[in-house]
Structure formats: C-alpha cells, structure tokens
C-alpha cells in the first residue's frame, strides 16, 4: 500500500473510480487470450498442469519462474509453436478472442499472424534487413513494392530501429549487432500487424544497453499490442510488466498485478522465489 502506482492500479482493478485513466480501466476489463485447464505433456512427461489464466489486452504480461518451470512451453503453446516438438500432447482449451486455437477450423498459420513471436536468440533470416521484415507480408501474399516499402519502414520505425538501419536496408541482417538484430526480429513480427506478441526471454542474449532499448520498446508497443513476455530476470518483469504470472514446476502459482505480486505475494513459494530463496 505504500506505493503510489500500486494504489492506482488497485483502484483500476476496482470497478468505478472515475479519477483514473480511462484507457487503463478499459484495458483491465478485456482479455485477449483465455487459457482454461491447460495440461501439456512431452511424451509421458507432464510439463504443464491445469493452467488457467487470462491474458489482458494491450498490457504487458510477464511470466517468471525458475528454469524448467514450463514458462517457455506455456508461451509457445499460445501460438502452437510448441507443436514443433512432435510428441507434444495437450488438453484443456485456449481461446484467442473467442476462437478455440486447437480447433481444426482455426488454422495455426492464421493464429500465428495474430499471435506473433520474438525468440530468445535473435534469429533473423540470412537475408537483407528489408527482406527479413518483408518476409511475413510476402508470405501472406503482399507483393507490391510500394506497399512493402511502407510496411518495412513503418515496422522498423515501430521497432525503434529505423534510424539505425535505414541506410543499410539491403545489407545482410547478420551484419547488425545482437541488439539490432533482435529489434529487426521485433520489426519482422510487427510487419504482419499481429494482435498479441509473445516474447521468449527476448533480452537474455543481449548486452545491458540493448536490453534497455528492447525494454523501452516493449513499453511503447503495449499501446497497440498485447504483450506476453517470458523472462528469467525478475527486475525486468518488475520494470516492464503490468501483470506477472509466477510458474513453478509446470503450475501457475500466482498471477497478479506486477506490483502486487512483487510487494505482496500471496503464496509462500512466490515470496521465496522473488526474495531469492531459491531458483
């Protein structure tokens, strides 16, 4: 209760406090992805147990937890990337804006244009910066050069890297620094105008300055996108997220407003983890 922002957030959560920012209130109401009783197995090893959580719209949701707790698995389940491992089985449901993502009618390729992803290690294609960003739109049939030019410029600007790469759009993306590559990858994800962006420890391979840039970018992106970010860095979760989920051994232990979770954890295990007693 000592923290001002926390008080504000609490008020936002409460139904009608007219003083607070309207946008925030609206955000708190809508969820973009609803997960219900999700179980996941790799072969016979269960990796996720009965996860239920709602991902809020246009906010940053952080997922924290020790290595092997299933946080990356969970993230990859949200756009069905987890199925790249052939032995994965799931039960339960995930709805993206009311659509059951596991339904045969809902194509996973379509889902992934809506729920984009940024990976742990920057993974630009061995192509030019331009071709990297234009890849998604091209795959989905946009061929006109003028349109692509606009998309590329807009995406790179949104990813806050336009000024750094505008003179080397046609050079191989591998010539960029790791931090720049990661922002190009973010631009690449933005180019298909997704609704949700999943980030799997996007700064773990980056130096502190690049990390700061990506974190700043996340703050700007939540104006337009709903972001779910997995991080092993609790300070990062505290800095950039609105809500935080704590995973442990495949279970969702606690999911709350970030400030609440860090200052007033409800579960003993959460408290132990964030105070550094294990993990």
């Amino acid at each position: 209760m000592s923290n001002v922002t926390k008080v504000q957030k609490e008020k936002n959560e409460g139904t009608a406090v007219p003083k607070v920012n309207k946008k925030e209130t609206k955000k708190a109401e809508n969820s973009v992805i609803n997960v219900n009783d999700l179980n996941l197995w790799y072969g016979s090893n269960q990796a996720l147990y009965e996860i239920s959580m709602d991902i809020p719209e246009e906010r940053v949701t952080a997922i924290i937890g020790p290595s092997g707790c299933g946080k990356s698995t969970f993230l990859k389940t949200l756009n069905r990337m987890v199925e790249m491992v052939p032995i994965v089985k799931t039960s339960g449901s995930i709805n993206y804006r009311g659509n059951d993502i596991f339904s045969n009618k809902y194509k996973k390729e379509y889902l992934r244009t809506k729920v984009g992803m940024v990976f742990q290690k920057p993974n630009p294609f061995p192509k030019s910066v331009y071709d990297n960003v234009a890849y998604g739109p091209r795959v989905h049939g946009i061929k006109k050069k003028e349109v692509l030019d606009q998309i590329v410029e807009k995406s790179l600007k949104d990813a806050a890297i336009w000024d750094e790469v505008k003179d080397r759009l046609h050079e191989n993306a591998y010539g960029l620094s790791g931090g720049q590559q990661q922002r190009v990858c973010i631009a690449r994800a933005l180019a298909v105008e997704p609704d949700v962006i999943l980030m799997d420890e996007p700064t773990s391979a980056l130096d502190p300055i690049s990390t700061a840039k990506v974190e700043e970018l996340v703050q700007e992106l939540k104006e337009k996108y709903s972001i779910v970010i997995v991080t092993h860095n609790m300070q990062q979760a505290a800095r950039i997220s609105d809500k935080t989920a704590f995973f442990l051994s495949g279970e969702l232990i606690e999911f709350a407003e970030t400030d609440d979770l860090f200052q007033n954890p409800q579960d003993k295990r959460t408290e132990d983890y964030i105070t550094g007693r294990f993990g």
């Binding site: 790249m84 992803m117 290690k121």
Partner: protein
C-alpha cells in the same frame, strides 16, 4: 619453477609424480617431435600421387600433341583413332549427354529426397531411409552398368521401340540413379545445418511448412545444395563402368539420347583394354583424353568450392 612446484606438491605428490615422469620422458619427447613429420608424410602421399599423375598426363599428352595438332584434337568432329581421326568432340559430346541426362534424373529426385528427409521425415523414418539411400552409393558401378543394360534398356525399349541395345538414355539414367544418394545426402546435410531458429522465425510469422522449406531453408542451404549438385555432376562426368557397359562404344556427336555414344572414360577403357601398341598415337591419345577429363572434373570441383564459399550463409 620446477623446484617450487615440487616443493608445493608435497602433500598431494601429483606434481612430484609428473616431475618424475618428466625425467623419463626423453623418448616420449622424441616421439612427440617425430609424429607430426610422420603425419605430414602420410598426408603428402596423396598430394604427391596427384602431382605424379598430373605430371604423367601432361608429359604423355605433350607426346600426343606432337603427332596430332592440338587444334585438330579439340576442333575435329570425328573420333576414330584406328583410322587416324582424332577429333575429341564426339567423346566430350557423349560425356556431356550422359551427364545432362544424369543431372536431370538426379537433381530433382535427390533434392526432393533431401527435403523430405530433412524437413518432413520423423527421426525414425530418417534413420531408416538415410542408410538405405547411402547403400545405393555403395553398390559397385559395374552392377549399375549391368542393371542398365539388362533391366533399364528393355524397360525403355517397351516405350521407345527404336531404342538400341546400347544407348545414352539408359546409361545416363542409371548414372543419375547412382548419384542421387550424393545429392540427397549432401543436400540433406546442408538443410539440416540450417538452424531451427530460422524455421521457428518463419513459422512464427504464420508461414506454412512448405513456405518455410522453400523460402527459408532452401535459400539458407543454397550453397551446400549447389556444391552437392556440382560434386555429383563431377562424379557423373568421371563415371566409367556404367557408360562402358550400357552406352556402347560408338563415338557419336549427337544429342539424340536413343543412340549409342562413347564417353571419354569409355574410350579410355576401350583403348586401355584393347590391343593398343605401346608408344602408338592411340596409346598417347589415352593421355590427352585423360587430361581433358581431368580438366573437366577439376573445373567442376573448383566451381563447387567457389560456390560454397561465395554463397556461404553465416548463421
């Protein structure tokens, strides 16, 4: 340094043991020095052999070109050494015809197999199919030649009645089958070495599996694939047994695959196994043809190396 280490190592004695052993190690040290030279010697055997072969080829070819002008050799269009015509074009033409047919057979099939193995096959399927494919590479080429003559040719004859017993088509086809494993295996290696992160990146943008294969994996593995193809072509150029058995021995400057042709390699077999007199022009022509063949395969290998270096993707 030795003394200080020894005194420090008193409790554990490991340092002391090392020191003691070091005293005895004079033989070991000598071996240590000799071994690299021995290894160099082994490595130089193949280099020296190559140089030796090249030298012989060159010397004997020069002998040949003192009898037949180099101009006549490379521009003449008739090859009948027993009646004194030494225009190598029909042999080169035969070789190229076989190679082109083989490439047309091997590249699509090899590449498709590679894509299947690398991108679609489950681990279990891959573990079964890849060794089988590689067994193809271990079949002696004389068996392939026999197979071409006694199985493929009759089969093609059912479709093309005019097809002779000896023809470029079945020989080229079977050479193609022979080099499929090379294309498939090397291309599969190249595709396999494309990091999964790139596939994930593309899938994460909503690309389908096929789009990932053709727009990410193949471009990224391009250099390795081209190198595998060029190496396979170079193998086809040098292939001897299949063409000797199945393509016949008629030096024939033609692009008609139903006819019998003679390749450079097949001529060398013919002349080397026949009653060619030592020192005759025909005898020397072996070396000139061999030299030409060597230049062909050398150029292909250089192209392969150049391409794989030039288009190497760094990931």
């Amino acid at each position: 340094m030795d003394n200080s280490l020894r005194s420090e190592g008193n409790q554990l004695n490991v340092q002391q043991m090392i020191e003691e052993r070091k005293q005895k190690k004079s033989i070991g040290e000598r071996i240590e020095k000799i071994v690299p030279w021995f290894l160099l010697l082994c490595a130089s055997v193949s280099v020296l052999t190559t140089v030796g072969i090249l030298f012989t080829l060159l010397r004997e070819s020069i002998g040949f070109f003192s009898n037949v002008s180099i101009f006549e050799f490379y521009t003449g269009t008739s090859w009948s050494p027993w009646s004194g015509h030494y225009g190598v074009a029909p042999l080169i033409g035969g070789t190229l015809l076989i190679t082109v047919i083989a490439t047309i057979v091997a590249v699509p099939l090899g590449l498709m197999s590679a894509i299947f193995l690398s991108e679609y096959a489950s681990d279990k399927v891959r573990r079964t199919i890849k060794p089988v494919l590689e067994v193809l590479a271990g079949i002696p080429t004389v068996v392939y030649g026999y197979f071409a003559l006694t199985f493929i040719t009759p089969m093609f004859q059912a479709i093309i009645p005019d097809l002779g017993i000896f023809n470029a088509l079945s020989a080229g086809f079977v050479v193609g089958i022979m080099i499929i494993p090379m294309v498939a295996s090397l291309s599969e290696d190249a595709m396999n070495s494309v990091p999964n992160a790139l596939r994930e990146g593309a899938l994460g943008l909503g690309a389908t599996k096929l789009e990932v294969v053709f727009k990410v994996v193949l471009p990224a593995a391009f250099s390795g694939i081209v190198a595998s193809v060029v190496l396979a072509i170079s193998r086809a150029i040098g292939e001897t047994m299949i063409v000797t058995i199945a393509a016949g021995a008629t030096p024939n400057l033609t692009m008609d695959a139903t006819q019998s042709v003679q390749t450079m390699t097949a001529f060398i077999v013919q002349a080397a196994t026949g009653d060619t007199t030592f020192g005759s022009t025909i005898y020397y022509s072996l070396y000139a043809v061999g030299m030409t063949l060597f230049v062909f395969t050398l150029v292909m290998n250089l192209i392969a190396q150049y391409i794989s270096r030039k288009f190497k993707e760094d990931y």
